[in-house]
């Protein structure tokens, strides 16, 4: 790790000026940032430890305006196992538990999960070019090791994926990210929080320098409680990043779809959701024909880069399977018999 200055903030107001300094980064769980520092990928000059903020209320998970409020400092494990999350947002609980390991979920925070960086091997290897790590140096992944990388929303500059499971569920559930800086507070819809790579792949999110994530809110999702499923396809049964993951939720009137939510992980630089595909499902009978049509619409424009060509078929099958599992019911999905 590079040498750096360390400071601790006891509350948000004390943290903000520290974070406004050039080269300063907040550290909470540290599970991704410290790893990136060991690799020399990130070299902050100052780390501001914001863990004490959990004693200033930033770890609270509570019902809020008919929905849910998740503190940025609440740990992933505490969130996934929280009674209200389990009973009212089973999709979020399942997605979090599909990610990382129990140790990492005990450490990692909700705010930090939003800010995870890609696991593209070129991004991690400082001996290779990477437009995300060093803008303008090129992207060897396009014609190289890209088995795990993106098939949607890519650019000439970058085909990295966002690695989070939690964020896929947050996208499906229309979350809002709340941030604070020296100049005030603002709310960012999850759809606008993460970015596509475009010509600036070095910028992962629309969080501005000096802004601190304070909490995440979710609107009521009661209509989807009984029919949701998180499917994660990966190279081993547990503790691996997604090749493709799907958060699916259905609101059913008998056999007819009243509303649908479908978000994908492992396929793009941000959780991928096509709301037109969901709208087209409304009023249709739940079943293979409708689900396959939705999958085709979601994957319009998808392209492979060689090693990851298989994801085109895998993603379609995963979407259909997730929707089929959701149709059969959340309780069915929980038993792992998907």
């Amino acid at each position: 790790m590079n040498p750096f200055l360390f400071s601790q903030a006891q509350n948000v107001d004390a943290a903000l000026p520290l974070l406004a300094a050039d080269g300063a980064r907040p550290v909470a769980g540290g599970t991704n940032l410290l790893d990136l520092m060991k690799e020399g990928v990130m070299t902050p000059s100052t780390l501001v430890d914001i863990n004490p903020l959990e004693h200033a209320g930033l770890d609270v998970i509570e019902e809020h305006e008919g929905g849910l409020r998740l503190g940025a400092l609440a740990r992933n494990a505490a969130t996934a196992y929280h009674d209200t999350v389990r009973s009212r947002y089973p999709l979020l609980s399942a997605a979090i538990l599909a990610g990382a390991s129990p140790q990492l979920r005990n450490m990692a925070t909700n705010g930090g999960n939003l800010l995870q960086r890609t696991r593209c091997v070129y991004f991690y290897d400082v001996g290779t070019p990477c437009n995300k790590r060093e803008p303008g140096t090129g992207c060897p992944a396009k014609n190289g090791i890209n088995r795990t990388l993106a098939i949607l929303g890519t650019s000439e500059q970058c085909i990295a994926t966002h690695p989070s499971d939690m964020c896929v569920a947050l996208r499906a559930l229309d979350a809002t990210v709340h941030v604070k800086s020296g100049s005030g507070e603002r709310a960012i819809p999850i759809a606008d929080f993460h970015r596509l790579p475009g010509d600036t792949p070095q910028i992962d999110t629309n969080l501005q320098p000096g802004e601190l994530i304070t909490h995440i809110t979710l609107p009521d999702a009661a209509a989807f409680i009984d029919h949701s499923a998180y499917i994660k396809v990966r190279d081993r049964l547990s503790y691996a990043f997604a090749l493709v993951s799907v958060a699916a939720a259905l609101d059913l009137d008998g056999g007819t779809i009243r509303a649908a939510r479908i978000a994908l992980g492992g396929v793009a630089h941000k959780p991928w959701r096509v709301e037109e595909a969901e709208a087209a499902l409304v009023g249709k009978p739940a079943g293979a024909a409708a689900f396959e049509a939705a999958a085709d619409r979601i994957l319009e424009g998808a392209r492979g880069y060689g090693q990851n060509d298989f994801k085109l078929t895998l993603a379609k099958n995963a979407i259909v399977q997730a929707l089929t599992t959701a149709m059969r019911g959340t309780e069915f999905a929980k038993r792992g018999e998907a």
Binding site: M1, D35, N51
Partner: protein, 178 residues
Amino acid sequence: MDLYQQYPIRLRINDQDREFDVESWVTLLDLLRERAGLTGTKKGCDHGQCGACTVLVDGKRVNSCLTLAVMQNGHEVTTIEGLAKGEELHPLQQAFIEEDAFQCGYCTPGQICSAAGLIAEGQAKTVDDVRELMSGNLCRCGAYPQIRQAVCKVIGIQESKPGAASGSDGFTTGPVLA
């Protein structure tokens, strides 16, 4: 401001108060092994992928390689050295011996601390839960069936078919514990 300055910290390690002066970049793992003389905690990958460095901080299992010692100032750390009561082994240590749950032993301290955390969390009800919730600890010797048996034995989970495969289809998703 001196980038190489040392930060005074105090930790309670295995029920003893300990004080150290550490540079900002020293991980909890390196502090335990190199400054506290507690080499039971192992460095495997040093990247949070293998679980060999698992310890309990305030009773919760964490990867000690992915947290800084300065971040743990004031916290309580339990390592493998802190589990036994004198000559009386911790039930997990005893079970690992009885079930032959290790070969080379390098991952064992992490496995046992992880299992202690798993038990404290109280989420594992079935054999499949134990398999899933021990997935953060790799064993290159491949003692997984015996490790699972040892952990199940301590929790009191009956294994109807020793070594039986998971109830899931083994393809798309692990058991989901929501």
